[in-house]
Symmetry: C2
């Protein structure tokens, strides 16, 4: 027959009721959609986020950007290197502290960011369509409380 072999779906027990499991699956699905959209531009979501932060905060130090995004300083380096090799961003020396590097978007980076933002808006809209605007707000609130216990019932 079509594609329904003798696979009676296994009994997953209460696994679908576990937050970790549901989160993992949802995150995988969403990530997949995000990557599909940006794959043609060869930019990963984390890199896009970096570019967005730099657009609003030119000159930030690496440690500030990576901390703001929850990326480890050490893993930030190759991620940013790849962007710099493509001429989308650059490190400039900081006046007054010769250790630090200020991070900036180039013109090419700013241009690409505009395209990325448009793509992002599209799939964000697709996702929102699945749960409705209210659902999205509710979801964001719940996720924030899970991420950061300090959020309380806010």
């Amino acid at each position: 027959m079509e594609d329904a072999p003798n696979h009676p779906p296994p009994d997953l027990g209460h696994l679908p009721m576990l937050l970790g499991h549901a989160l993992r699956r949802a995150q995988a699905a969403v990530l997949h959609e995000a990557q599909a959209g940006m794959a043609e531009l060869d930019i990963r979501p984390a890199q896009h986020a970096v570019m967005q932060v730099l657009h609003r905060n030119p000159g930030l130090r690496q440690s500030q950007v990576s901390q703001a995004l929850g990326i480890q300083r050490t893993n930030f380096v190759p991620l940013f290197d790849a962007l710099e090799r493509r001429g989308l961003v650059e490190r400039r020396d900081v006046a007054g502290d010769r250790r630090a590097k200020g991070l900036f978007l180039t013109d090419a980076g700013t241009a690409l960011l505009a395209r990325l933002d448009r793509i992002q808006a599209e799939y964000e809209a697709r996702l929102t369509a699945r749960i409705g605007p209210d659902g999205k707000q509710t979801l964001l609130g719940l996720l924030a409380r899970l991420s950061d216990p300090a959020f309380g019932p806010g």
Copy 2:
């Protein structure tokens, strides 16, 4: 001073309003908590899930288990190998199909699973406490709709 340097928090723009971003952070936080609980037993969440499925569905094939959990067949092998080396599970030949292997928990595996389930219940309760039982149900519903578009508004 303590640990409040001259870091004025960067402007993240609408990044916190993005589902992908919020999901990634929440998933990282929850995964961290899960791993912390099971680290002492040297079992990872995916392995625990496999054991749970086998407990309810003894004799399942590898492809069925991995498909049910959203793991690729190919990555399932080393994951299961590790469990088998520890004597927690086993592969048995299947009558009627010499290609297939039926998967089973051993007694040791069943015993360990009980401990894992208890640990899991604990941190699941901790997580639920952060958002309330209603919040959890709402969250699970929204995540399911994100994961699987077919879920519709059902």
